[in-house]
């Protein structure tokens, strides 16, 4: 008997779809209309993401602006797979212009369009010339030639290249760069409240969360803040930020994120230096240290000495193990083993093992030992739901979680799980 994820997690190359990345880069940009050059159902997947997002926003008691821009599918069918889909795309774009009077159209391409070999770029140029409306598209086609983040970043880069313009600076303002759940997500909210306490006002979150008309003036921000962590998408966002700095004189801090306690304190100091508000940043750092201290006072008496097993199935580019290990250490949890699930290629397994060894001396155990230890442990901290009854699992979030607020939420989840008297186990999402 060995540890096994509930769902198949082995990945090759084609993990995700670039179309939803393009969609997410403009989802809430009033004035834009998105067109999926795809079968109808692909647009429904994007819609499903929005519905999920709308309900998780409500579940967390947040009030977000959840009105999305129109999303229209070209509705490719068997006929276009034989004769090509460009004519239908152009007709669809004409419909979009007539119906929605958009200020900009964004086209995402499906793998079907990629296999057919449609020249979407030329079609976009024709429509742009005919109607005098900017029409942007990307070079990725569904899972071909790129994934979610390639679509997202390419569209963000094109929006920046095309519509940003040099502006007079507005001191004490920041633009947020990236997604991480949007303005109403925990990451952006945590960052925004810290920045406000330092005396910095957030004027927009790019891409995806500002009206199209406001894009040109966004470079008036004194600096850019990347929402991310040491994960794959942040590399692309850093490249985007570097271009922004070079062309529009909007500086940013490289490789600094409010992730984990040490990372958060360092990030607050970095923000103080970036905006020339060091004294205010010191005060905020002290307050955040006190916030962490209070949380530990509350939770550590219940967590100290309790046993935990860490189960990892995400690749290193999507998950860094140091933050959760920092939390378990602060709580005094006894981690009896770290087990890697069966979702790794040999090369990716090696990378994750190295990353684990670089931040802890805790034992890496095989899946069979992991299953035994998990059965004995008080809690299981895991990137994937594990098969098996009775395990008290806590799901390690997919998206990076920012600030001391995120650490406190994780501590609370661990505390509540340990308080549970139910024998049935189950999984708790943070």
């Amino acid at each position: 008997m060995e540890l096994k994820a509930k769902r198949f997690i082995g990945k090759n190359k084609s993990c995700s779809c670039s179309m939803t990345g393009v969609w997410r880069a403009v989802t809430y940009c009033r004035g834009v209309v998105a067109v999926f050059h795809s079968p109808r159902a692909c647009a429904h997947i994007a819609r499903t993401m929005d519905v999920n997002s709308a309900f998780s926003t409500r579940a967390e008691g947040r009030r977000g602006k959840t009105e999305t821009i129109p999303l229209v599918s070209v509705q490719l069918s068997e006929r276009e797979s034989i004769f090509g889909g460009v004519d239908k795309l152009q007709q669809c774009l004409a419909y979009v212009v007539d119906t929605y009077h958009p200020e900009c159209i964004v086209i995402a391409n499906s793998c079907v369009a990629g296999v057919i070999g449609d020249d979407v770029e030329s079609a976009a140029r024709k429509v742009e010339t005919a109607y005098g409306i900017p029409v942007l598209t990307v070079g990725t086609f569904g899972f071909l030639d790129g994934e979610y983040y390639e679509g997202y970043l390419e569209m963000a880069t094109k929006l920046m290249d095309r519509f940003f313009r040099p502006c007079q600076k507005e001191p004490g303002t920041a633009m947020l760069l990236g997604d991480s759940g949007g303005p109403w997500g925990s990451y952006a909210r945590e960052v925004t409240q810290i920045l406000e306490r330092i005396g910095i006002r957030v004027i927009g979150q790019f891409p995806g969360f500002m009206p199209f008309r406001e894009l040109p003036d966004l470079p008036r921000a004194q600096a850019a803040i990347i929402l991310g962590g040491r994960r794959k998408p942040a590399d692309g966002l850093q490249r985007l930020a570097a271009t922004l700095e070079e062309r529009f004189d909007v500086p940013f801090v490289r490789d600094s994120y409010p992730i984990g306690a040490a990372g958060t304190f360092r990030w607050i100091r970095d923000m103080g230096r970036l905006f020339g508000k060091e004294a205010a940043a010191r005060d905020v750092e002290a307050a955040e240290r006190e916030r962490l201290h209070r949380a530990l006072e509350r939770y550590r008496p219940s967590t100290e000495g309790k046993t935990a097993v860490l189960c990892l199935g995400r690749w290193l580019r999507y998950f860094q193990p140091d933050t959760i290990l920092e939390t378990t250490s602060l709580l005094g949890l006894h981690v009896t083993g770290i087990s890697l699930l069966d979702g790794y290629t040999p090369a990716e397994r090696e990378k994750m093992e190295q990353a684990v060894r670089s931040c802890t001396t805790l034992p890496l155990v095989d899946r069979e030992t992991g299953a035994r230890l998990a059965g004995e442990a008080d809690i299981v901290l895991t990137t994937h739901e594990i098969q098996g009854r009775g395990l008290r699992q806590i799901f390690l979030p997919m998206l990076p979680q920012a600030g001391i607020g995120a650490m406190v939420r994780m501590m609370e989840a661990i505390y509540r799980t340990l308080c549970s008297r139910q024998a049935r186990g189950g999984i708790r999402y943070v």
Partner: protein, 430 residues
Amino acid sequence: MSETTWQDTCSRNDTCGLTGAAAFFCGIPRSEVLVNGPLWCYYYALRHLEHGQSGVAQRMAVSQPDNNAIVFGTEKFLLETLDRLQREEHRPDLMLVENSCALSLIGDDLQGIVRKAGLPFPIVTMDSGGLDGGFAEGYAKASVALLRQSRWPKLPVRRGTVNVLGLTPFYYNGAADADEIVRLLTAAGYEVNAVPGCGSDVAALAKLPQAEYNLVVQPELGLPLAKALEEAYGTPYTVPGMPYGLDGTLAWLDRIGQVLPGQMDAVRREGNAARDELAVWENELSLNWGALWFDEIFVAAPGTTAVCLADAVRTEWIDTGRMTVYCQNDVTTTAGLTSHEADAVLTAGKDSGQAARILRGLHGALLLASSNESAFVQRDRQAVAVRNIAVPVKDEALLIRQPFCGLRGAAFMAQRLWNAYIGLKLADGK
């Protein structure tokens, strides 16, 4: 010029043919599905199906081909995946291997590839995905593919036996509804021979040809199979639709009785007793809350559910000033089913814009739909009572297996509608 009607996808939610095809096979006990396509398409299909049936994750696999497959074919990826499944000791009674839409265009000989694998169980292969349409089209195509590729021998007809076509556990509450339909038919003296895609195993499916009649309850799913069975074995079919409400259910049995006489006495007694009981409770509830009334009712669901439920809603449960029915599939021109009580019957794709406008204007209304539509009205904080009758469902826990349809479902629906009405009254008073 294309005949396509383009519209914002937000007022419609469907999945793709790949999901529908997988749904049909996952509705067959001990069958499995291998998606020859990207992880993304597989995962979205899986997550959709998991809401209807636990354990689907252990019955669905994915081949994950990369870019090169577009040129060199998917054989390598398929054979590797089949080999892995063999090593993991998967021994299903039946397997579906289905191409996603992009891979359908490559032209791989799926049958030839799976023959090479030399597997000890029958395999059905098909092209699938969004080019074929949505869930219903995929389900229907898979059912016909199973029939055509299985080549079951003709059997002597057993008098009084029926197959029930067009049921699925992956519609909202579909498993409970299927149970009730089988119970009603059995109570009315029919022998239910098989329910393909909703509980009948491979051995039972091989006996499909012995039924005297095929009953197509949800034609968007079951009509193509009924036609194929008539063509292959000469089995006649009828399309009674779905039985909702007490009178509606008895009328439904009468319609079936016109083509294949049954024994209605016991069912009528049960219906009359349920009607008396329900009337007492409704009078009692009216004492406090007044007669059940909504200014407007909007019903949105898969075609058959929408038109059949709508008539019961208006003739048996609720008084209203106006009722709009929004069908996710056209069952009127294809199967002759429509709502006789609706003020307007709209069809997704053709009338989505009108549906969106009505949804935006709902106030003091009842919305019988899915979380897709409720996200729409909740976004604008409209005073609307919501009850889910279709997937996706994000805002309700439905753990007890009680049907929406049939005699037992009539009481359950009355309960849900009354609670919706009371909930709206209470919310009004806040």
